[in-house]
Amino acid sequence: MTITIKYFASLREAQGVAERTFNSSEVTTVADIIAQHEMAFPENTLISVNQVYAYPETTLSSGDEVAFFPPVTGG
């Protein structure tokens, strides 16, 4: 399965990249990505899948776009 991972704001800076491609046959949910991810995410990290807020247990399909970002501070 191929997943595009995006990072924003402080998480992008911590990762050193804005985006990477994740290839694994052992991915079913967002939690699997988190478990296999090299760097741990802060506890307050928010998740989206295909630009909609999601949970660690959200199921993924090949080609999905998963984003990790800190609490939002707009407005």
Partner: protein, 152 residues
């Protein structure tokens, strides 16, 4: 069907010019509107007792617009309005400049007041924007305001 316009742009804005332009372009023929509620948010020169010289706003293109639209649709299903205009700055912003404009139009004031407030509060807690401040002493830091967890 409400007229809804959501814009995210890096150009400095005049909230009042945008309102005027929106009314002329979209509401000139609607004589049933009796109320317009407006909120504008400006950048302050002080945060957490530090002097802030610039702020840089980042967003998640696509998701931001979609998330705001979801919020607007949910709010106006409860508080029907004729129109809603949201304009949010991204990029570099200076103290005193307008960061965000949220406006709603309706026949009577109750709907526009409530919708304007709820849409804006929803934007603040769920729209994926992030602020980074440059302080007068040269320090640069992300704003880490506590917000409600927006998970559905």
């Amino acid at each position: 069907m409400a007229t809804i316009l959501i814009r995210i742009d890096s150009t400095p804005i005049s909230a009042w010019q945008l309102l005027d332009q929106f009314e002329q372009e979209h509401l000139a023929d609607n004589k049933l509107i009796g109320a317009c509620s407006v909120f504008t948010g400006k950048m302050r020169s002080s945060n957490q007792d530090d002097e802030v010289v610039t702020m840089t706003l980042e967003h998640y293109p696509g998701m931001t617009e979609q998330q705001i639209r979801t919020q607007v649709d949910a709010v106006i299903s409860e508080h029907p309005v004729d129109a809603c205009l949201i304009h949010h700055r991204v990029g570099e912003v200076k103290p005193g400049e307008t960061l965000v404009l949220c406006a709603t139009w309706s026949a009577h004031r109750a709907q526009s007041f409530r919708a304007c407030e709820e849409i804006f509060e929803g934007l603040k807690s769920t729209a994926p924007f992030w602020k980074k401040e440059t302080l007068k002493n040269g320090d640069i830091r992300w704003v880490e305001t506590n917000t409600k967890n927006p998970r559905p």
